[in-house]
């Protein structure tokens, strides 16, 4: 299996969260054995560089490979263009917290980047200076050509982060169950139809799992969970209920103006992050 991430990028702004963000990313880069690019929107200055370096000191000791990128301009453009230049394959963005401290959401700049980025994106809801272990990974198992890559990346990451549980969630849309429930008879038909769908989905996911090398499956409990619900939204809700530490999802096909008005798939997750979310491209 290929190592999915070689170059990790993070946009740095000198905010109160900077230390936590840097620690989290640096740790991840070491875990994934990847090079870290720190992209700052603004003038290059020795002062800034020095400040960032002090934060990174403990990780430099652990042989962290890193590079600074300074560029002036519109934050969205800068981050997108530099990640293309530097061949970044994983971009890390921080989420914001709602006033009531319960919900997290992705801010407008990060949201634009998430939509337009050509590489994978990791949205962090609560970066911390301390290392918090990742136990439970939830990944989508949609019927989609990209799912295979997503699931194998999930196994790779779980292995690197030492997660012990992977749950593959198969979301089955209401429309796929062709039977509408009106009375006992149609309920019975719908239940049978769902059972057939569930088995079909399950065997598809099992085939994907069987293609993954054994070494990545060692010491990991694999579970599949079919859910009949709205695509992209119910998986977030599930991750919250199942208290997942990381949610890994396919990238959306393409988002237009209408998708934002009538949110679906990934857009739901962006307004309401259940946990850390990794979007694989």
């Amino acid at each position: 299996m290929l190592k999915p991430f070689d170059h990790i990028g993070i946009g740095v702004a000198f905010s109160p969260n900077l230390k936590a963000n840097l620690y989290e990313t640096a740790r991840l880069s070491i875990f994934l054995k990847a090079k870290l690019f720190l992209i700052h929107v603004g003038e290059k200055s020795a002062d800034k560089e020095e400040k960032l370096k002090t934060f990174l000191t403990p990780f430099i000791a652990e042989n962290l490979d890193y590079e600074f990128v300074f560029k002036d301009g519109d934050p969205v453009d800068v981050i997108l263009s530099s990640s293309e230049e530097k061949k970044i394959d994983l971009l890390i963005l921080g989420a914001l917290q709602r006033e009531n401290f319960v919900n997290y959401y992705v801010g407008s700049i990060a949201r634009k980047i998430t939509r337009k980025a050509k590489c994978s994106v990791l949205l962090l809801i609560k970066p911390s200076v301390e290392c918090i272990s990742c136990e439970h990974v939830v990944v989508n198992g949609l019927q989609d050509p990209r799912t295979k890559k997503t699931i194998s990346s999930a196994f790779f990451i779980s292995k690197q982060l030492g997660a012990s549980r992977i749950t593959i969630v198969e979301e089955i849309g209401q429309k796929q169950v062709a039977v509408k429930v009106d009375d006992d008879k149609s309920l019975r038909r719908a239940t049978i139809a769902k059972e057939i769908l569930r088995r079909k989905e399950d065997s598809r996911v099992q085939r994907i799992i069987s293609d993954i090398p054994e070494t990545y499956k060692e010491h990991i409990t694999i579970k599949t969970q079919p859910i009949f619900g709205k695509r992209g939204y119910s998986i977030g809700h599930y991750a919250q209920v199942a208290r997942a530490d990381l949610l890994i999802m396919n990238a959306p096909s393409n988002t237009t103006f209408w998708d934002r008005l009538f949110p679906h798939d990934i857009e739901h997750i962006l307004t309401e992050l259940p946990t850390d979310v990794l979007i694989i491209r």
């Binding site: 301390e130 509408k180 939204y233």
Partner: protein, 731 residues
Amino acid sequence: MSPKKNNIKQFFSDLPKNIFSGFVVSLIALPLGLGLAMASDAPAISGVITAIIGGVLVSIIGGSYVTITGPGNGLVGVLLVAITALGINDAYAAIICSGALLIVLGFLRLGKLADFFPSSAIQGMLAAIGLIILGKQFHIMLAHKINRPETMDYLLAIPYTINDAIHYRSSGLIYAASIGVLSFMIMVFYPKIRNKYLQLIPAPMWIVILSIGFSYYFEFVAHEANPIDANYMLSGIPDINQIISQLPSISFSKIGQSSFWSSVLALTLIASIESLLSIKAVDKLDPEKRRSNVNKDLKALGLATVGSGFLGGLNVVTVIARSSVNVNNGASNRSANFFHALFLIIFIGLFSTQLTRIPLPALMAILVFTGYKLASPDIVKKIFSIGREQLVIFFVTLIVTLKVGLITGIASGVFVTFIIHVFINKSFSLFARNLLKPNVLMYREDESAGNYYVSVKHFCSFLNFYKLKQKLDAIAEDNEVIVDFSLCEFVDHTVMENLHNYQELFAKRGGNFEVVGLDMHGTDSKHPFALRRVLPIPSLLTNLTNRQTTIEELAKDFSLSYVAAKEKNTTFLQDFVFFKTKQINHIYNKLSNETGSLGVFDIEFSEGEFIAKEVVRTTMLHIQLEEEICTFTLDREGFLERIYAFAGYKDIPIQNHSDFSKRFYLLGENSTAIKNFFTDDLVHFFESNPYYHVESNGCSLLVFGKERLASVKEIKALYDFGKRLKEVILD
């Protein structure tokens, strides 16, 4: 599923029962049909026509099983307005159009329409309809016909009518009024008399029989003219030939006017709400526990309404009172509805002349009673006990309906409910931001017997209840369902009431429906249906949730002690490895035996600190042992394995029990002591029982299942497991 029954044979063997209950229902339908039609200012016979057409058509093409269809009391108010504004011939056209709209609703699968209205607003609307009926008919009951422009004026005139009635001088009026009062007494006291011969005939029919008998007495025995004033006798009952030959002329001339269409809309709205609510209620009564196809029924009702309108009848709706009589008399399928219509045809065919012997006050007494039932002070009391805010919704709907009209009334009820919800939560954005989100997650938990787990986020009120309902309706009622509201900030009364209905339905059909996660939500009243929202600082809980009261009952049954309040002293849990990295906040809902050695409790603990803090609520069992044992943890999935590995524990195989070793991770420091401790009996116990995580700290055991709050049924299982485990260990 049971094998397919021989349907035709079953149908014929059930036929006598259905004919009988159809007969009993027709006895009520006849006087009610006449009365409701007259109350709507339509010709008396139109009510009976409605029942006949409805009974025949809906019984053939409908989608429900034991419902009865006919003229509904909810529609009286709207029909009255329509007929006054448009005239009877154009009103028929409006009825036909509303029938067509109902068919459209059926095809658009809008059977869920009734779910969008807050229950207190519906109650308020029904009460207003009750007052409209009562206000108008009360005067006729006391033989004092009056004409007032507004419904309120009719109500305000009631004391004057009573005063006038006491001072009547004309004997015709005195007789008429006393027949009215007597009939009203029969309606009131009939349910209180328990006599099986008397109960054979329903109260309205007693009134009809007695008043016809009264008139015959004067004619044949006393040889006098009927003493009741001729103005107060039922008139204009055509015989069956006249009905067929003299179809009303239907006029579509006002179709361009807005008043026509507002009547059509009101008729459709009320007809569908009344029918849907009745179908829902009757489904709960169905002895065979079938689920009605509401959309199919709506189409059938619409078609019947169109037919009824063309033949000079009114809107056909499903009616709750007659349907419950139908069920009580042993009806088992739609044929009862058909026979009720058939008997009505026979009555009209044979006795149409006798019907003119019924005095109007007697008929109106039946309606006054129905109106009173809809608006009785009991309803107000019940609503008040749920919460003050519900009373506001109720009265706003009631008064606006009386003052302005039904559609404005129900709309203002919906509006006020929403405003109150926003006010209670002090947040508009909670609703605005989350209204369109699919906030309900349902899946099957695979580990146990496959129960359904439903989690609801954000808020759940009448605005988005249909989403939850859609999920719940996709579950057969003999399953186990757990609905979890711990992620939900606000749950309203409409939802609580509907969930209660589901609970009853599941209980009746052999399933189990439990609601968890509401223990931290605050309420203002003690009623189980009161609306609940998450309190920032949970105060002392005054209103126990349904789950808590059931646990309380459980405690009584097993003679355990139960404390719902939070307990901060949790030192007895500190030694467990599981809590090493976790901060215990408190335990609550504690159930324990006399010695306190066995206890089940809900626990709230948090993982991580500061911003990474995550609060978890779950249910655990604690067993205090008298003797020292070794420390160990027993786990199946192995996902906790790593944490314990930190603590220096390793997996220990038990000899001769390879299956056990394969299925469980047994971890501990002192492997020889653990091997000795796990005797054959203990291993067999674990192998043959449902899986739980078990952990020992040397002198006590901690047992728990899932990382969420347990349902009462799961609490019972957990407690039983612990009790037996303790016995096995002590042996």
